[in-house]
Protein backbone atom coordinates (compact mmCIF):
# COMPACT_ATOMS: atom_id res chain seq x y z
CA UNK A 1 0.00 0.00 0.00
CA UNK A 2 1.24 3.47 -0.86
CA UNK A 3 2.17 5.51 2.16
CA UNK A 4 0.19 8.70 2.58
CA UNK A 5 -0.52 11.38 5.16
CA UNK A 6 -3.56 13.55 5.78
CA UNK A 7 -3.19 17.31 6.11
CA UNK A 8 -5.55 20.28 6.37
CA UNK A 9 -5.36 22.24 3.10
CA UNK A 10 -5.63 26.00 2.93
CA UNK A 11 -5.22 28.17 -0.14
CA UNK A 12 -4.38 31.81 -0.66
CA UNK A 13 -2.25 34.43 -2.32
CA UNK A 14 1.53 34.42 -2.44
CA UNK A 15 3.51 37.24 -3.99
CA UNK A 16 5.09 34.78 -6.43
CA UNK A 17 1.63 33.68 -7.55
CA UNK A 18 0.64 37.35 -7.96
CA UNK A 19 3.64 38.04 -10.20
CA UNK A 20 3.03 34.86 -12.21
CA UNK A 21 -0.62 35.67 -12.98
CA UNK A 22 0.36 39.10 -14.21
CA UNK A 23 3.21 37.80 -16.35
CA UNK A 24 1.03 35.22 -18.13
CA UNK A 25 -0.96 32.23 -16.94
CA UNK A 26 0.02 30.28 -20.04
CA UNK A 27 3.68 30.29 -18.99
CA UNK A 28 5.58 27.65 -16.97
CA UNK A 29 6.32 30.33 -14.34
CA UNK A 30 2.65 30.13 -13.26
CA UNK A 31 3.08 26.40 -12.63
CA UNK A 32 6.29 27.05 -10.69
CA UNK A 33 4.50 29.60 -8.51
CA UNK A 34 1.13 27.92 -7.95
CA UNK A 35 1.48 24.26 -8.97
CA UNK A 36 3.05 23.49 -5.61
CA UNK A 37 2.03 22.37 -2.16
CA UNK A 38 3.83 23.95 0.79
CA UNK A 39 4.32 21.49 3.63
CA UNK A 40 6.03 21.61 6.98
CA UNK A 41 9.39 19.92 7.45
CA UNK A 42 7.83 17.54 10.01
CA UNK A 43 5.23 16.41 7.48
CA UNK A 44 7.94 15.70 4.90
CA UNK A 45 9.60 13.44 7.45
CA UNK A 46 6.30 11.76 8.35
CA UNK A 47 5.66 10.89 4.70
CA UNK A 48 9.33 10.04 4.04
CA UNK A 49 9.32 12.48 1.14
CA UNK A 50 12.17 14.34 -0.50
CA UNK A 51 11.61 18.07 -0.92
CA UNK A 52 10.76 19.29 -4.44
CA UNK A 53 9.21 15.96 -5.41
CA UNK A 54 5.90 15.59 -7.26
CA UNK A 55 3.01 14.41 -5.12
CA UNK A 56 -0.60 13.47 -5.72
CA UNK A 57 -2.98 15.43 -3.52
CA UNK A 58 -6.43 13.92 -3.14
CA UNK A 59 -9.56 15.23 -1.45
CA UNK A 60 -13.17 14.02 -1.58
CA UNK A 61 -13.60 16.52 -4.44
CA UNK A 62 -10.77 15.50 -6.79
CA UNK A 63 -7.05 15.01 -7.10
CA UNK A 64 -4.14 16.90 -8.63
CA UNK A 65 -0.40 16.50 -9.13
CA UNK A 66 1.76 19.28 -7.66
CA UNK A 67 5.31 19.70 -6.42
CA UNK A 68 5.85 19.42 -2.67
CA UNK A 69 8.04 22.22 -1.34
CA UNK A 70 8.99 23.25 2.16
CA UNK A 71 6.77 25.94 3.65
CA UNK A 72 8.19 29.39 3.02
CA UNK A 73 5.92 30.70 5.75
CA UNK A 74 6.11 28.19 8.58
CA UNK A 75 6.37 26.21 10.74
CA UNK A 76 2.84 24.89 10.39
CA UNK A 77 2.76 21.11 10.94
CA UNK A 78 -0.49 19.51 9.88
CA UNK A 79 -1.33 22.34 7.50
CA UNK A 80 -0.67 22.24 3.75
CA UNK A 81 -0.85 25.31 1.53
CA UNK A 82 -1.47 25.49 -2.21
CA UNK A 83 -1.45 29.02 -3.68
CA UNK A 84 -4.79 30.04 -5.17
CA UNK A 85 -5.21 28.86 -8.74
CA UNK A 86 -6.37 25.89 -10.82
CA UNK A 87 -4.23 23.34 -8.93
CA UNK A 88 -5.83 24.24 -5.58
CA UNK A 89 -9.27 24.50 -7.15
CA UNK A 90 -9.08 20.95 -8.50
CA UNK A 91 -9.42 19.67 -4.94
CA UNK A 92 -10.96 22.30 -2.63
CA UNK A 93 -14.41 21.88 -1.14
CA UNK A 94 -16.89 23.59 -3.52
CA UNK A 95 -19.70 23.68 -0.93
CA UNK A 96 -20.92 27.21 -0.32
CA UNK A 97 -23.39 26.37 2.45
CA UNK A 98 -25.77 28.93 0.94
CA UNK A 99 -23.34 31.80 1.18
CA UNK A 100 -22.10 31.74 -2.43
CA UNK A 101 -18.54 31.24 -1.16
CA UNK A 102 -16.80 27.87 -1.65
CA UNK A 103 -14.79 26.55 1.30
CA UNK A 104 -11.34 27.44 -0.01
CA UNK A 105 -9.71 26.92 3.37
CA UNK A 106 -9.90 23.82 5.51
CA UNK A 107 -10.20 20.87 3.11
CA UNK A 108 -8.76 17.59 4.44
CA UNK A 109 -6.41 16.12 1.82
CA UNK A 110 -4.18 13.08 1.56
CA UNK A 111 -0.70 13.38 0.10
CA UNK A 112 1.13 10.53 -1.60
CA UNK A 113 4.37 10.42 -3.55
CA UNK A 114 3.90 10.57 -7.34
CA UNK A 115 7.44 11.10 -8.45
CA UNK A 116 6.88 10.20 -12.13
CA UNK A 117 3.57 12.00 -12.65
CA UNK A 118 3.74 15.27 -14.63
CA UNK A 119 2.44 18.59 -13.31
CA UNK A 120 0.25 20.22 -15.95
CA UNK A 121 0.42 23.90 -16.91
CA UNK A 122 -2.39 26.09 -15.53
CA UNK A 123 -4.53 26.48 -18.63
CA UNK A 124 -3.81 22.91 -19.71
CA UNK A 125 -4.94 21.53 -16.34
CA UNK A 126 -8.32 23.27 -16.57
CA UNK A 127 -8.78 22.27 -20.22
CA UNK A 128 -8.01 18.62 -19.46
CA UNK A 129 -10.42 18.52 -16.53
CA UNK A 130 -13.15 20.21 -18.60
CA UNK A 131 -12.52 17.99 -21.63
CA UNK A 132 -11.86 20.93 -23.94
CA UNK A 133 -10.54 19.97 -27.36
CA UNK A 134 -7.43 21.99 -28.12
CA UNK A 135 -6.12 22.31 -31.66
Amino acid sequence: MTKNITLNLITGRTIQQGVAIESGKEKPSYRTAAGIIEMDDADFKRLGLWKNTNVKVTSPHGSVIVKAVESAQGPNPGIAFIPMGPWANAIIDPNTYSTGMPTFKGTPVTIEVAINEPILLGIELVQVQCGVKVG
Partner: protein
Protein backbone atom coordinates in the same frame (compact mmCIF):
# COMPACT_ATOMS: atom_id res chain seq x y z
CA UNK B 1 13.78 60.98 -25.53
CA UNK B 2 11.57 59.49 -22.89
CA UNK B 3 9.13 61.10 -20.52
CA UNK B 4 8.20 60.29 -16.95
CA UNK B 5 4.55 60.24 -15.91
CA UNK B 6 4.07 60.73 -12.18
CA UNK B 7 1.16 59.99 -9.83
CA UNK B 8 0.02 56.97 -11.83
CA UNK B 9 -2.51 54.60 -10.21
CA UNK B 10 -1.58 50.93 -9.96
CA UNK B 11 -4.37 48.63 -11.18
CA UNK B 12 -3.54 45.49 -9.25
CA UNK B 13 -4.89 45.24 -5.70
CA UNK B 14 -7.42 47.12 -3.62
CA UNK B 15 -4.68 49.32 -2.15
CA UNK B 16 -4.77 51.23 -5.47
CA UNK B 17 -1.37 52.91 -4.91
CA UNK B 18 -1.40 56.39 -6.47
CA UNK B 19 2.29 57.28 -6.45
CA UNK B 20 3.61 55.16 -9.32
CA UNK B 21 6.04 56.67 -11.80
CA UNK B 22 6.12 55.32 -15.30
CA UNK B 23 8.71 55.99 -17.98
CA UNK B 24 7.30 55.95 -21.51
CA UNK B 25 8.77 56.54 -24.95
CA UNK B 26 8.33 59.97 -26.49
CA UNK B 27 5.56 58.81 -28.83
CA UNK B 28 3.67 57.35 -25.87
CA UNK B 29 3.55 53.91 -27.47
CA UNK B 30 6.03 52.05 -25.30
CA UNK B 31 6.17 51.65 -21.55
CA UNK B 32 9.80 51.33 -20.54
CA UNK B 33 10.10 51.41 -16.79
CA UNK B 34 7.95 51.38 -13.64
CA UNK B 35 9.02 52.93 -10.36
CA UNK B 36 7.54 52.80 -6.84
CA UNK B 37 5.17 49.91 -7.60
CA UNK B 38 5.43 46.53 -5.87
CA UNK B 39 6.73 43.57 -7.83
CA UNK B 40 3.21 42.49 -8.84
CA UNK B 41 2.16 45.99 -9.92
CA UNK B 42 5.35 46.43 -11.96
CA UNK B 43 4.71 43.12 -13.68
CA UNK B 44 1.18 44.20 -14.55
CA UNK B 45 2.40 47.40 -16.22
CA UNK B 46 5.26 45.66 -18.01
CA UNK B 47 3.19 42.69 -19.21
CA UNK B 48 1.11 45.10 -21.29
CA UNK B 49 4.22 45.42 -23.48
CA UNK B 50 4.59 41.67 -24.07
CA UNK B 51 5.34 40.82 -27.67
CA UNK B 52 3.30 37.61 -27.56
CA UNK B 53 0.13 39.37 -26.43
CA UNK B 54 -3.17 38.46 -28.10
CA UNK B 55 -4.39 41.54 -29.97
CA UNK B 56 -7.35 40.22 -31.96
CA UNK B 57 -10.54 38.47 -30.82
CA UNK B 58 -10.38 34.71 -31.35
CA UNK B 59 -13.13 32.14 -31.87
CA UNK B 60 -12.69 28.48 -30.95
CA UNK B 61 -13.16 26.22 -34.00
CA UNK B 62 -14.64 22.70 -34.17
CA UNK B 63 -11.13 21.21 -34.26
CA UNK B 64 -10.16 23.11 -31.11
CA UNK B 65 -7.95 25.68 -32.82
CA UNK B 66 -8.42 29.45 -32.59
CA UNK B 67 -9.50 31.59 -35.56
CA UNK B 68 -8.96 35.36 -35.49
CA UNK B 69 -12.17 37.36 -35.91
CA UNK B 70 -12.90 41.08 -36.00
CA UNK B 71 -14.32 43.05 -33.05
CA UNK B 72 -17.55 43.40 -35.07
CA UNK B 73 -17.90 39.64 -35.40
CA UNK B 74 -17.06 39.21 -31.71
CA UNK B 75 -19.72 41.75 -30.71
CA UNK B 76 -22.24 40.03 -33.01
CA UNK B 77 -21.57 36.65 -31.37
CA UNK B 78 -21.75 38.09 -27.85
CA UNK B 79 -25.00 39.99 -28.47
CA UNK B 80 -26.60 36.97 -30.18
CA UNK B 81 -25.53 34.71 -27.32
CA UNK B 82 -27.01 37.02 -24.69
CA UNK B 83 -30.20 37.58 -26.71
CA UNK B 84 -30.78 33.86 -27.12
CA UNK B 85 -29.90 32.73 -23.61
CA UNK B 86 -32.69 32.20 -21.09
CA UNK B 87 -30.48 32.82 -18.07
CA UNK B 88 -26.96 34.07 -18.93
CA UNK B 89 -24.39 34.74 -16.22
CA UNK B 90 -22.31 37.91 -16.53
CA UNK B 91 -19.42 37.46 -14.12
CA UNK B 92 -16.28 39.40 -13.24
CA UNK B 93 -16.17 43.21 -13.45
CA UNK B 94 -13.48 43.64 -10.80
CA UNK B 95 -10.60 44.40 -13.17
CA UNK B 96 -12.36 47.00 -15.22
CA UNK B 97 -13.49 50.55 -14.59
CA UNK B 98 -16.85 51.74 -13.25
CA UNK B 99 -17.80 53.22 -16.64
CA UNK B 100 -17.55 49.77 -18.28
CA UNK B 101 -19.40 48.20 -15.34
CA UNK B 102 -22.26 50.61 -15.87
CA UNK B 103 -22.57 49.71 -19.57
CA UNK B 104 -22.41 46.04 -18.52
CA UNK B 105 -25.34 46.58 -16.18
CA UNK B 106 -27.40 47.96 -19.07
CA UNK B 107 -26.60 44.81 -21.05
CA UNK B 108 -27.51 42.65 -18.06
CA UNK B 109 -30.85 44.38 -17.66
CA UNK B 110 -31.74 43.96 -21.34
CA UNK B 111 -30.69 40.31 -21.43
CA UNK B 112 -32.20 39.54 -18.00
CA UNK B 113 -28.90 38.06 -16.84
CA UNK B 114 -27.51 37.04 -13.49
CA UNK B 115 -24.66 39.41 -12.63
CA UNK B 116 -21.93 38.86 -10.11
CA UNK B 117 -18.45 40.11 -9.33
CA UNK B 118 -15.39 38.50 -7.81
CA UNK B 119 -16.69 39.16 -4.30
CA UNK B 120 -18.25 35.73 -4.96
CA UNK B 121 -14.88 34.15 -4.14
CA UNK B 122 -13.44 36.96 -2.04
CA UNK B 123 -15.42 39.20 0.31
CA UNK B 124 -18.95 38.08 -0.59
CA UNK B 125 -19.47 36.74 2.90
CA UNK B 126 -18.27 40.08 4.25
CA UNK B 127 -21.04 41.80 2.32
CA UNK B 128 -23.61 39.42 3.85
CA UNK B 129 -22.27 40.21 7.34
CA UNK B 130 -22.30 43.95 6.66
CA UNK B 131 -25.97 43.71 5.68
CA UNK B 132 -26.63 41.77 8.89
CA UNK B 133 -24.80 43.95 11.38
CA UNK B 134 -23.32 47.08 9.72
CA UNK B 135 -19.73 48.19 9.27
CA UNK B 136 -17.97 50.75 11.47
CA UNK B 137 -15.20 51.63 9.05
CA UNK B 138 -12.89 54.49 8.07
CA UNK B 139 -10.55 55.50 5.27
CA UNK B 140 -6.93 54.45 4.87
CA UNK B 141 -5.95 58.08 5.46
CA UNK B 142 -7.39 57.86 8.96
CA UNK B 143 -5.46 54.64 9.52
CA UNK B 144 -2.23 56.30 8.43
CA UNK B 145 -2.74 59.35 10.62
CA UNK B 146 -4.36 57.83 13.70
CA UNK B 147 -4.14 54.04 14.06
CA UNK B 148 -1.83 52.89 16.85
CA UNK B 149 -3.18 49.31 17.09
CA UNK B 150 -3.28 47.44 13.80
CA UNK B 151 -4.83 43.97 13.66
CA UNK B 152 -4.43 41.78 10.56
CA UNK B 153 -6.94 38.94 10.90
CA UNK B 154 -6.68 36.13 8.33
CA UNK B 155 -4.85 38.28 5.84
CA UNK B 156 -1.29 38.44 4.64
CA UNK B 157 -0.61 41.90 3.20
CA UNK B 158 3.12 41.16 2.86
CA UNK B 159 2.09 38.94 -0.07
CA UNK B 160 -1.38 40.04 -1.17
CA UNK B 161 -1.22 43.83 -0.69
CA UNK B 162 2.54 44.39 -0.75
CA UNK B 163 2.55 48.17 -0.20
CA UNK B 164 -0.38 48.34 2.22
CA UNK B 165 1.84 48.37 5.30
CA UNK B 166 4.31 50.90 3.91
CA UNK B 167 1.68 53.31 2.57
CA UNK B 168 -1.08 53.17 5.16
CA UNK B 169 -1.03 50.77 8.04
CA UNK B 170 2.33 50.15 9.74
CA UNK B 171 5.28 52.24 8.56
CA UNK B 172 4.08 55.71 7.49
CA UNK B 173 4.47 58.65 9.85
CA UNK B 174 1.03 60.19 10.17
CA UNK B 175 -0.29 63.28 11.96
CA UNK B 176 -0.81 61.49 15.29
CA UNK B 177 1.55 58.62 14.52
CA UNK B 178 4.73 60.61 14.03
CA UNK B 179 7.06 57.75 14.88
CA UNK B 180 5.73 55.48 12.17
CA UNK B 181 5.95 51.82 13.13
CA UNK B 182 7.33 52.79 16.57
CA UNK B 183 3.99 54.35 17.41
CA UNK B 184 2.01 51.28 16.41
CA UNK B 185 1.46 47.81 17.83
CA UNK B 186 0.72 45.10 15.30
CA UNK B 187 -1.30 41.96 16.02
CA UNK B 188 -1.62 39.17 13.46
CA UNK B 189 -4.08 36.29 13.69
CA UNK B 190 -3.24 33.50 11.26
CA UNK B 191 -2.88 29.70 11.42
CA UNK B 192 0.43 29.99 9.55
CA UNK B 193 3.54 31.91 10.51
CA UNK B 194 3.17 34.16 7.50
CA UNK B 195 5.64 36.86 6.50
CA UNK B 196 3.16 39.35 7.97
CA UNK B 197 2.97 37.36 11.22
CA UNK B 198 6.78 37.41 11.49
CA UNK B 199 6.63 41.21 11.75
CA UNK B 200 3.95 41.30 14.43
CA UNK B 201 4.26 42.38 18.06
CA UNK B 202 1.82 39.57 18.84
CA UNK B 203 0.95 36.61 16.63
CA UNK B 204 -2.04 34.51 17.64
CA UNK B 205 -1.57 31.23 15.75
CA UNK B 206 -5.23 30.29 15.71
CA UNK B 207 -6.30 26.76 14.84
CA UNK B 208 -7.46 26.84 11.23
CA UNK B 209 -11.21 27.44 11.03
CA UNK B 210 -11.58 28.45 14.70
CA UNK B 211 -11.64 32.21 14.15
CA UNK B 212 -15.19 32.53 15.46
CA UNK B 213 -14.23 30.99 18.79
CA UNK B 214 -11.19 33.25 19.15
CA UNK B 215 -13.13 36.39 18.28
CA UNK B 216 -15.77 35.37 20.80
CA UNK B 217 -13.08 34.81 23.42
CA UNK B 218 -11.75 38.33 22.78
CA UNK B 219 -15.22 39.73 23.50
CA UNK B 220 -15.22 37.81 26.79
CA UNK B 221 -11.69 39.02 27.61
CA UNK B 222 -12.67 42.67 26.98
CA UNK B 223 -15.30 42.27 29.69
CA UNK B 224 -12.91 40.45 32.04
CA UNK B 225 -15.19 37.39 32.27
CA UNK B 226 -14.20 33.70 32.69
CA UNK B 227 -12.35 32.00 29.83
CA UNK B 228 -11.41 28.32 29.32
CA UNK B 229 -7.67 27.60 29.53
CA UNK B 230 -7.28 27.30 25.77
CA UNK B 231 -9.51 28.69 23.01
CA UNK B 232 -8.86 27.87 19.34
CA UNK B 233 -5.36 26.71 20.26
CA UNK B 234 -4.46 29.95 22.07
CA UNK B 235 -3.83 29.98 25.86
CA UNK B 236 -6.17 32.31 27.74
CA UNK B 237 -3.30 34.44 29.06
CA UNK B 238 -2.29 35.27 25.50
CA UNK B 239 -5.89 36.14 24.61
CA UNK B 240 -6.15 38.47 27.62
CA UNK B 241 -2.83 40.09 26.67
CA UNK B 242 -4.05 40.68 23.12
CA UNK B 243 -7.36 42.06 24.44
CA UNK B 244 -5.51 44.47 26.75
CA UNK B 245 -3.22 45.53 23.92
CA UNK B 246 -6.23 46.34 21.76
CA UNK B 247 -8.12 48.14 24.54
CA UNK B 248 -5.11 50.29 25.40
CA UNK B 249 -4.89 51.82 21.91
CA UNK B 250 -6.19 55.26 20.96
CA UNK B 251 -7.33 54.07 17.53
CA UNK B 252 -7.65 50.38 16.68
CA UNK B 253 -8.07 49.16 13.11
CA UNK B 254 -8.95 45.57 12.25
CA UNK B 255 -8.08 44.49 8.70
CA UNK B 256 -9.43 41.10 7.70
CA UNK B 257 -9.07 38.87 4.67
CA UNK B 258 -9.74 35.51 3.12
CA UNK B 259 -8.72 33.65 6.28
CA UNK B 260 -12.09 34.50 7.77
CA UNK B 261 -14.29 34.92 4.69
CA UNK B 262 -13.41 31.56 3.13
CA UNK B 263 -13.19 29.34 6.23
CA UNK B 264 -16.22 27.52 7.56
CA UNK B 265 -18.53 29.87 9.51
CA UNK B 266 -17.92 32.39 6.69
CA UNK B 267 -20.22 35.40 7.18
CA UNK B 268 -20.60 34.57 10.89
CA UNK B 269 -16.83 35.06 11.31
CA UNK B 270 -17.28 38.58 9.99
CA UNK B 271 -20.41 39.17 12.08
CA UNK B 272 -18.45 38.60 15.23
CA UNK B 273 -15.37 40.49 14.02
CA UNK B 274 -17.65 43.50 13.55
CA UNK B 275 -19.13 42.83 17.00
CA UNK B 276 -15.58 42.90 18.42
CA UNK B 277 -15.15 46.30 16.74
CA UNK B 278 -18.39 47.51 18.30
CA UNK B 279 -17.27 46.26 21.74
CA UNK B 280 -13.91 47.98 21.48
CA UNK B 281 -15.65 51.28 20.84
CA UNK B 282 -16.81 51.16 24.46
CA UNK B 283 -13.17 51.53 25.52
CA UNK B 284 -11.48 53.33 22.63
CA UNK B 285 -11.99 54.13 18.95
CA UNK B 286 -12.05 51.11 16.65
CA UNK B 287 -12.73 50.58 12.95
CA UNK B 288 -12.74 47.53 10.70
CA UNK B 289 -11.95 47.18 7.01
CA UNK B 290 -12.00 44.28 4.53
CA UNK B 291 -8.76 43.84 2.56
CA UNK B 292 -10.31 43.90 -0.92
CA UNK B 293 -8.37 42.01 -3.58
CA UNK B 294 -8.97 43.21 -7.14
CA UNK B 295 -8.29 46.90 -7.66
CA UNK B 296 -11.91 47.65 -8.54
CA UNK B 297 -13.96 44.94 -6.87
CA UNK B 298 -15.12 47.62 -4.45
CA UNK B 299 -16.19 49.79 -7.39
CA UNK B 300 -18.13 46.91 -8.90
CA UNK B 301 -20.03 46.52 -5.65
CA UNK B 302 -20.69 50.25 -5.60
CA UNK B 303 -21.99 50.32 -9.18
CA UNK B 304 -24.18 47.24 -8.63
CA UNK B 305 -25.55 48.66 -5.40
CA UNK B 306 -26.18 52.05 -6.96
CA UNK B 307 -27.94 50.63 -10.03
CA UNK B 308 -29.57 47.43 -8.72
CA UNK B 309 -29.64 47.88 -4.94
CA UNK B 310 -27.36 44.94 -4.10
CA UNK B 311 -23.56 44.62 -4.17
CA UNK B 312 -23.15 41.20 -5.86
CA UNK B 313 -24.98 37.95 -6.76
CA UNK B 314 -27.87 39.68 -8.53
CA UNK B 315 -30.49 37.84 -10.56
CA UNK B 316 -32.34 39.96 -13.12
CA UNK B 317 -34.04 37.03 -14.86
CA UNK B 318 -37.50 38.07 -13.66
CA UNK B 319 -37.03 41.61 -14.93
CA UNK B 320 -36.21 43.06 -11.53
CA UNK B 321 -33.22 42.66 -9.21
CA UNK B 322 -33.24 39.76 -6.75
CA UNK B 323 -30.42 38.94 -4.35
CA UNK B 324 -30.07 35.70 -2.47
CA UNK B 325 -26.50 34.38 -2.09
CA UNK B 326 -26.55 30.60 -2.26
CA UNK B 327 -29.28 30.77 -4.90
CA UNK B 328 -28.25 33.68 -7.15
CA UNK B 329 -24.47 33.41 -6.60
CA UNK B 330 -22.24 32.35 -9.50
CA UNK B 331 -20.70 29.20 -8.01
CA UNK B 332 -24.09 27.83 -7.01
CA UNK B 333 -25.70 28.75 -10.35
CA UNK B 334 -22.89 27.00 -12.22
CA UNK B 335 -22.80 23.99 -9.91
CA UNK B 336 -26.56 23.50 -10.41
CA UNK B 337 -26.20 24.04 -14.21
CA UNK B 338 -28.90 26.70 -14.06
CA UNK B 339 -27.37 29.03 -16.61
CA UNK B 340 -27.09 28.59 -20.36
CA UNK B 341 -24.47 31.18 -21.40
CA UNK B 342 -21.36 32.54 -19.71
CA UNK B 343 -20.03 36.06 -20.16
CA UNK B 344 -16.80 36.77 -18.28
CA UNK B 345 -15.05 40.13 -18.07
CA UNK B 346 -12.11 41.35 -16.00
CA UNK B 347 -11.63 38.20 -13.95
CA UNK B 348 -10.66 34.55 -14.24
CA UNK B 349 -13.25 32.12 -12.88
CA UNK B 350 -11.48 29.31 -14.78
CA UNK B 351 -8.53 29.63 -12.42
CA UNK B 352 -10.34 30.72 -9.27
CA UNK B 353 -13.62 28.79 -9.14
CA UNK B 354 -13.71 25.20 -7.90
CA UNK B 355 -13.34 22.95 -10.93
CA UNK B 356 -16.89 21.61 -10.56
CA UNK B 357 -18.13 25.15 -11.27
CA UNK B 358 -15.75 25.58 -14.24
CA UNK B 359 -16.75 22.42 -16.11
CA UNK B 360 -20.22 23.73 -17.10
CA UNK B 361 -18.60 26.83 -18.68
CA UNK B 362 -16.81 24.61 -21.21
CA UNK B 363 -20.14 23.15 -22.37
CA UNK B 364 -22.09 26.31 -23.08
CA UNK B 365 -21.79 29.39 -25.32
CA UNK B 366 -19.18 31.54 -23.62
CA UNK B 367 -17.28 34.79 -24.04
CA UNK B 368 -14.17 35.82 -22.12
CA UNK B 369 -13.15 39.48 -22.27
CA UNK B 370 -9.62 39.70 -20.88
CA UNK B 371 -6.30 41.12 -22.06
CA UNK B 372 -4.51 37.96 -20.88
CA UNK B 373 -4.68 34.32 -21.91
CA UNK B 374 -6.25 32.61 -18.92
CA UNK B 375 -7.82 29.28 -17.97
CA UNK B 376 -11.18 31.03 -18.58
CA UNK B 377 -10.21 32.02 -22.13
CA UNK B 378 -8.90 28.47 -22.50
CA UNK B 379 -12.37 26.97 -21.96
CA UNK B 380 -14.42 29.76 -23.62
CA UNK B 381 -15.75 29.77 -27.18
CA UNK B 382 -14.77 33.40 -27.80
CA UNK B 383 -11.80 35.31 -26.35
CA UNK B 384 -11.89 39.09 -26.74
CA UNK B 385 -8.60 40.74 -25.76
CA UNK B 386 -8.96 44.36 -24.72
CA UNK B 387 -6.76 47.24 -23.60
CA UNK B 388 -5.38 47.05 -20.05
CA UNK B 389 -7.52 49.22 -17.82
CA UNK B 390 -5.36 51.54 -15.73
CA UNK B 391 -2.46 51.22 -18.20
CA UNK B 392 -3.88 51.74 -21.70
CA UNK B 393 -7.13 53.39 -20.68
CA UNK B 394 -8.23 55.37 -17.64
CA UNK B 395 -11.47 55.21 -15.72
CA UNK B 396 -12.92 55.35 -12.25
CA UNK B 397 -11.97 52.78 -9.61
CA UNK B 398 -12.68 52.38 -5.88
CA UNK B 399 -9.98 51.71 -3.29
CA UNK B 400 -10.66 49.14 -0.55
CA UNK B 401 -11.89 51.92 1.77
CA UNK B 402 -14.52 53.03 -0.79
CA UNK B 403 -12.56 56.07 -1.92
CA UNK B 404 -13.00 56.59 -5.68
CA UNK B 405 -9.78 57.24 -7.61
CA UNK B 406 -9.49 57.90 -11.33
CA UNK B 407 -7.02 55.58 -13.02
CA UNK B 408 -4.80 57.07 -15.70
CA UNK B 409 -3.89 56.05 -19.21
CA UNK B 410 -0.10 56.00 -19.57
CA UNK B 411 0.51 54.27 -22.88
CA UNK B 412 -1.34 53.61 -26.14
CA UNK B 413 -2.82 50.12 -26.61
CA UNK B 414 -1.67 48.15 -29.68
CA UNK B 415 -3.22 49.57 -32.85
CA UNK B 416 -6.86 48.64 -33.32
CA UNK B 417 -7.46 47.32 -29.80
CA UNK B 418 -10.63 48.40 -28.04
CA UNK B 419 -11.21 49.09 -24.35
CA UNK B 420 -13.71 47.12 -22.25
CA UNK B 421 -16.16 49.98 -22.41
CA UNK B 422 -15.92 50.42 -26.19
CA UNK B 423 -16.53 46.72 -26.77
CA UNK B 424 -19.43 46.63 -24.31
CA UNK B 425 -21.06 49.60 -26.04
CA UNK B 426 -20.87 47.66 -29.34
CA UNK B 427 -22.52 44.66 -27.67
CA UNK B 428 -25.16 46.80 -25.99
CA UNK B 429 -26.17 48.53 -29.23
CA UNK B 430 -26.45 45.22 -31.08
CA UNK B 431 -28.40 43.63 -28.23
CA UNK B 432 -30.87 46.51 -28.21
CA UNK B 433 -31.56 45.94 -31.90
CA UNK B 434 -31.96 42.18 -31.42
CA UNK B 435 -34.32 42.66 -28.49
CA UNK B 436 -36.18 45.58 -30.07
CA UNK B 437 -35.30 47.89 -27.19
CA UNK B 438 -35.31 51.60 -28.04
Amino acid sequence: MTKTITDVICPFCGTLCDDIEVLVSDDGKQLLEVNNACVIGSEKFLHSQAKDRVTKPRMRQEDGSWKDVSYDEAADYTAAMLAKAKKPLMYGWSSTNCEAQSVGNEIAEISRACVDNTAAVCHGTTLIAVQDIGLPTCTLGEVKNRADRVIFWGCNPAHAHPRHMSRYSIFPRGFFTGKGQMSRKMVVVDPRVTDTAKMADAHLQVEQGKDYELLNALRVAFRGEWLPDVVAGIPKEKIREAADLMKSGRFVIIFFGMGVTQSLSKNHNIDIAIAVTKDLNEYTKCSIMPMRGHYNVTGSGEVFAWQFGFPYSIDLSRGFARYNPGETSSIDLLARSEIDAMFTIGSDPGAHFPISAVKPIANMPSVCIDPHMTPTSGVSKLHVPVAFNGVETGGNCYRMDNVPIDCRKVVEPPAGMLTDEQFLVMVRDRLKKLKGVA
